[in-house]
Symmetry: C2
Subunit: 343 residues, 2 copies
């Protein structure tokens, strides 16, 4: 392939030092590397979009998790979507669109024996596939919303559902799934602009700007029948406030603790005692526990998407050199919808 | 009935002022009242045992709960067992042993149209019935352990189960139920004497004295495979410590918050985030939600009791004038097993 990708250089974002709190200049370095020679069973994928999510930030900490921490010197791990530009395996053809964990990298290698379940291959036949949707809806973000809302939240028609980080990638989908189940859905977000998107684009019934209101009073006003389901991306004082407004037999799905990923502190919610008074439950979950059910999740998300009942919004940072601002945007509260990095 | 009970006086413990923290002298006054004339549908029950539990203390606070607060001037509400000494209804015969919410009262009225499900009538035919067992095992105490451990905890053979307040009325049964399910059971209690009872009488595999050890270190030692089920009577720092030791997919049954009934403070457990990391769940429950399943609970408790796999221990205070020390014993940690007041 003269002049083809194999003769090109790769660009990769490599972890140089573990960030404390927000990612600082120098924690991730953009380097140029040689593209590896493909061996049998491999395909070379040109990254079109890197998905930026909170998990990527947690992998930079030296903490055991459901995947091992990224080591200093390694490429920063992240979900990606890309196109096959060279192949030495039967599973992929040139032109195939694939989702994988390509990381902060302009090119990555996909093997034909991994990620076949979760990080699915999308056939080259599906020209014009919405590559943003692959990560925003039909990847782990949508699946997280699906499993958290439907397995743990289990909203019923007429119930009141509250979602924090409602303008975010996961919260926006979780709320729309609750709407699809017939619930009344109240978002919590950090700006009036976000709240407008949450109600106008994502179709929530209302949205509370927690930065400018007394959250407890607002919850009483927005949730006159209390809260049957809470999808928590926030932790901290927001979790505590919603716990104080739980209805009998309420369900709380713990999805994330965005308030403390950076601070590292987890103030305990003293209103956990409401779980007792209200015979309520609070459960954590992890999307990757449900690999075997991703087809189920994607089928339902696809059905709602095709029916016009599910939408998403993208926030794209252009260039791998934007890796640090893109990651930090999640925690600075400046992002709306799904955050992408376009290499 | 000349000389019978109708000509006698009643003695009753009446709420005079709402206690703050422990019950103080004068908060409950022992008074003498006339025995009421029975009307149709009523039976007069001579109290043989008053069950003293944390619920009775919570009913003295002016807080909405699953039963309304006891009002100042009213008899203190409590579960009782007693014998029918006069009857004007078909449901009860003289000599019947009944359990009811007779309260701090030497005599009480049982109507034939209430409590027929939970506070069951025990036929006079069952002479020699163990009246302590009626409250310690086959009433709401045993049912609380049953529903909390089996519905929420769901211990499997070989799993590790931790129970706090393990020497108490509910915890001691909960732990024995987990043992019956084949689990390894570790108690947490507040003295070496209690720990000895927990292992020697109640058959737990081990017991941690949380007052004299570093609880976190002790949990690591006693629960090398982490904690699959935690039955929490404690709240506060004990709950936080056990949450920090949860195993994957652990279940936490919130039964009570004995650490804060008196203080009124509920420090939030910062280790609630372990629910997320461990895909674990934490749920409150209320025994009275399951009135319709009391027969199921009592049948299983009876089966285990008859098989010698379930035992209880009584701590009896003699005389209604001991009402205040009996109530406070629950919170001062001086009681072992089920606490009774014998009028």
């Amino acid at each position: 392939m003269p002049g083809g990708p194999m003769s090109q250089k790769n660009r990769q974002g490599v972890l140089r030092s573990r960030p404390k709190g927000l990612v600082a200049d120098g924690d991730i370095e953009l380097i140029e590397t040689e593209l590896p020679e493909l061996v049998g069973g491999e395909a070379l994928v040109k990254t079109t979009l890197v998905g930026i999510d909170a998990a990527a930030r947690t992998w930079l900490d030296d903490q055991p998790g459901y995947l091992p921490p990224v080591q200093v010197g390694e490429v920063v791990r992240a979900a990606t979507v890309g196109e096959v530009v060279a192949t030495r395996c039967d599973a992929y053809e040139v032109g195939d669109v694939v989702t994988t964990l390509g990381g902060f990298s302009a090119y990555s290698i996909s093997r034909d024996d991994v990620y076949t379940t979760v990080m699915g291959r999308v056939s080259a036949g599906t020209a014009g596939v919405d590559q943003e949707a692959l990560l925003a809806l039909f990847g782990s973000t949508g699946a997280t919303a699906y499993f958290g809302m439907y397995d743990i939240g289990r909203p019923k028609a007429g119930e009141t559902v509250v979602v924090s980080a409602a303008a975010g990638a996961t919260g926006s989908i979780a709320g729309q799934l609750a709407k699809a189940a017939g619930a009344r859905v109240v978002g919590i977000a950090g700006s009036d602009e976000k709240c407008a998107v949450v109600t106008d684009e994502f179709g929530f019934d209302s949205c509370i700007n927690y930065r400018t209101t007394d959250l407890r009073a607002a919850l009483r006003e927005h949730c006159p029948d209390r809260v049957d389901v809470y999808f928590d991306n926030a932790g901290g004082p927001i979790l505590d406030a919603v716990l104080g407004r739980l209805a009998m037999h309420a369900r709380v799905a713990l999805c994330g603790v965005i308030s403390s990923y950076v601070s590292g502190e987890h103030p305990g919610p003293s209103n956990y005692v409401k779980l007792l008074a209200m015979r309520a439950s609070m459960a954590g979950f992890n999307t990757l526990d449900n690999w075997g059910r991703f087809d189920e999740a994607n089928a339902e998300l696809r059905r709602l998407f095709d029916a016009g009942k599910l939408t998403f919004r993208s926030h794209v940072f252009d260039g791998l050199d934007q890796a640090i601002p893109a990651l930090n945007a999640l925690f600075e509260g400046t992002n709306i919808g799904k955050t992408f990095l376009r290499p």
